[in-house]
Each structure stands twice: as C-alpha cells, then as structure tokens.
C-alpha cells in the first residue's frame, strides 16, 4: 500500500479532486433541481404535481449507469461534445435530484401546515411563504438525510470510471493495470473513499440522534 501511495500519489490526488468536484457540483445542482420538484409536488396545481411525480419516479427507477452512459453517448451525437467528467456529473445530478426531491418533499410536508396558512394570512405570496418560512424549517429537518445523500453521491461518483471521468475509481483501475497489484491499488483507493465518507456519515448519525 505504501509503495502505491508513494509512487502514484499524484494520480490519486487528482482522482480525489475530480471525485470531490463532481460530487460537490452534483450536490449543488441536484439540491436546486430536487427542491424545485419537491415544491412542485406540494403545490395545488395538478399538472405540476404530475410532472414532478413522473420525473421523480422515472429517475429513481433507472440505474445511474444507464443515465450516465446515455449522457456520455447521446449528448455528443446531437448537441455538444462533452467529456466523461461532464457527462458523468450531469448523470449524477439528474439521478440524485430525484432522491433529493423525495427527501425535501417529506421535509416540507413535516412542517406544520399552520405555518403556510399563517404566512399566507399575513399577506405573503405562495413563493414568499415557501422560500422565507417553509423551506428554512424544512431544510433543518432534512440535513441528516441530505448528508447521507452526499455520502451516496461520493460513492456513486465512481460510475465516472465507466465514462473516463478521471475520478478515484478510474485512477484505481489505471494504477492496478500498471502495477498489477490489484489488491493494494483498490485498498488505497478504498481508504481514500472512506476518509471522505466515514466522517460525514458518522456526523450525520450524531445529528440524527440530536434531532430525534
């Protein structure tokens, strides 16, 4: 393990960087998209609710790998040339946004309906009430599940290896094929993944206990 670490630390570090970058970007965008669909699900409009439902159910029930390779193969054919990293991050964003939408929706629904009624009665519009009153309370409730989503994102970002996304997993395969030392290459990369994911998931468990 030590020799792999000392010989290949540059590749490993770049891999770690790309993995983190893709996870953070996907988290930010999927939070935005997911929250939008979550709000659509709790509006009065039947059309908006149906659209949100369809989006969420479709992307929750299709493998991430299928979504990611779709973007990797199809966007370059018709729209614009994208590299593996971009296609992978788009795939991750869309896949994760469906899960985040479900999480945020359950957060919004666990805020007392009196909050919305009170805010509306005080003259706020639906969107003002949503963004100033409901969402801040909802987000506080869903921080632990969102943190766990981020852990999932870091783990799921390993599908970037399928589309040459330069991430940790991709580097692990490269190092394994150069050194022929599969066990140690994968162990080093496993430790690097754990360094990111373990603290977050332990912290989220602590938060969950404190909130409960």
């Amino acid at each position: 393990m030590i020799t792999i670490l000392s010989d290949h630390w540059q590749e490993l570090l770049t891999g770690l960087g790309w993995t983190l970058l893709s996870s953070v970007l996907a988290l930010i965008f999927s939070l935005i998209i997911g929250s939008l669909f979550a709000i659509m699900e709790v509006t009065e409009s039947k059309v908006a609710r149906t659209i949100a439902r369809i989006y969420i159910e479709i992307f929750r029930n299709i493998p991430l790998l299928v979504i990611t390779s779709f973007f990797y193969l199809v966007i370059p054919m018709y729209v614009v040339k994208v590299n593996g990293f971009t296609a992978g991050t788009i795939g991750l964003t869309i896949y994760t946004s469906a899960f985040i939408a479900e999480t945020v929706r359950s957060g919004i629904q666990s805020v007392d309906p009196g909050q919305m009624e009170g805010a509306r009665a005080n003259g706020l519009t639906f969107w003002q009430a949503m963004s100033n009153v409901i969402l801040p309370q909802a987000f506080r409730l869903v921080i632990p599940p969102l943190g766990n989503q981020f852990v999932n994102l870091v783990k799921n970002s390993s599908v970037l290896a399928f589309v040459a996304g330069f991430d940790l997993m991709y580097q692990a395969n490269n190092i394994a094929s150069i050194t022929f030392d599969t066990i140690n290459s994968y162990m080093v990369v496993g430790v690097l993944y754990l360094i990111i994911t373990m603290p977050i998931s332990y912290y989220m468990r602590y938060l969950e206990k404190r909130l409960a």
């Binding site: 159910e57 479709i58 929750r60 029930n61 299709i62 493998p63 991430l64 790998l65 299928v66 390779s69 779709f70 193969l73 199809v74 054919m77 852990v151 870091v154 783990k155 799921n156 970002s157 390993s158 599908v159 290896a161 399928f162 997993m169 692990a172 395969n173 394994a176 599969t182 066990i183 994968y186 990369v189 496993g190 993944y193 754990l194 994911t197 373990m198 998931s201 332990y202």
Partner: protein, 217 residues
C-alpha cells in the same frame, strides 16, 4: 425512424430479455442472501454482545461507506490473489451480498429498535428466552414495519447490478451495450429499451410493496 423499428427486431429484443433474465437472477439471489446475512448482522449489532457487536458495527460502517463498484472490482480482480477465483455470476452475487447486507443490517437494526421495549419484556416475562423472543415476537413485528425501506433497498440492488457490466456480467445493460456497439443508430432505441425495462421491474416492485404494506397495515 427506421432505425427504431430495426432496433427492436425480435433477435435484439430476445437478446435484451436474456440479459434482463440474468439481471433478475442475480438480483433475486443477492436479495435472498443479503436479507439473511443482513438480518444476522443487524441482530448482532442490536444485541450489544461485548466487543463482537462493536467490531461487527465498525466493519458494517466500513463496507457501507465504500462504493459498490470498488467492492465488485475487489471481489473479481482482488480475490484471485488469495487463491479464490469466482466465476462472473457468483462473483457479482458475492459482491452484491457483501455490500447490500450491510445496508440491510442498518435498516433491520433500526427496525428492531422501533419495536416497543415492552414487547421484549413481556415475552421474557412469559418465559421465552432472549432468542425465542427475538425470532418469534420482535422480528416479525420489525419486518412488517420495515417493508417500505427494505423494498427501496431491493430496488437499488436491482439497479446496482448494472455496475457489474464492468466485469462483463452478461446482464441487461451489457446486452444493450453489445447491440448498440454494433450499430450507432441503435444507441437511442437501446437506451429507451433499457429505461423501460428497468423501470417496469423497479417501479413494479415498489407498487407491489405499497400494496402489501397497505394490506398488512
């Protein structure tokens, strides 16, 4: 448009369905094995046996926080170095079972925790041993409450089998890749077919689970 009709020729469809069958086979085997192993791990973690539970809990946390893809690689390419070389399908089932059983262990542990303490106390007071009470009183109630969480984990297991295409598991995703690898016009039709097939299996399972959940409630 013509490529759409050609893409869905009987030969291609049959080839996709063969892949779907492998996906289903691997998923069912992994679901059963990881459910048994996961229950076992979840009970150990809940029971608080001195040292054992803490060590098992730590190992569960380690595996849960690793990417499944890494575990698949490790099982298929790493294990042969220890003198154990599984075939592709058993290797996939092994990797899926290792990973999913740790996910299930957490679900099962929190399910057991959600059963009121009085159930265990009552059972013990009536003369059942700890394990009798666990298997006959606590677990049946716990599983009933866990159905939605268990099924969504099974759904993610089915989706995750697609990752094993990297070790050339001849599953649905891999068969679709073979078909569109031969003709670039088939890329979009094949992705559509993949999406539809996975959706039917996974969404069907969640509809079934909701139905069972409502019947039992």
């Amino acid at each position: 448009m013509k490529s759409f009709i050609d893409a869905y020729s009987w030969i291609n469809l049959r080839y996709l369905l063969e892949g779907l069958w492998i996906t289903v086979e691997v998923s069912v085997a992994s679901v059963i094995l990881s459910f048994i192993l996961g229950s076992f791990l979840g009970i150990i973690r809940y029971t608080k046996i001195k040292y054992v539970s803490a060590i098992v809990g730590f190992i569960i946390d380690l595996i849960r926080n690793l990417p499944l893809l890494l575990i698949i690689f490790f099982t298929y390419f790493g294990l042969p170095n220890f003198g154990f070389k599984p075939e592709i399908i058993p290797a996939t089932i092994l990797a899926m079972t290792i990973f999913e059983s740790t996910m299930l262990a957490e679900i099962i542990r929190s399910g057991i925790q959600a059963v009121p303490n009085g159930q265990m106390e009552g059972a013990r007071a009536n003369g059942l041993t700890y394990w009798q009470a666990m298997f006959q009183i606590i677990l049946p109630q716990a599983y009933k409450k866990m159905i939605p969480a268990l099924v969504s984990q099974f759904i993610s297991l089915i989706k995750d089998t697609s990752l094993a295409t990297i070790i050339v598991l001849p599953d649905l995703t891999y068969h679709a890749q073979i078909i569109y690898g031969q003709n670039a016009n088939y890329i979009i039709p094949m992705f559509l077919a993949l999406a539809v097939m996975y959706f039917i299996v996974c969404y069907g399972l969640s509809v079934l689970a909701n139905y069972i959940d409502r019947r039992l409630a």
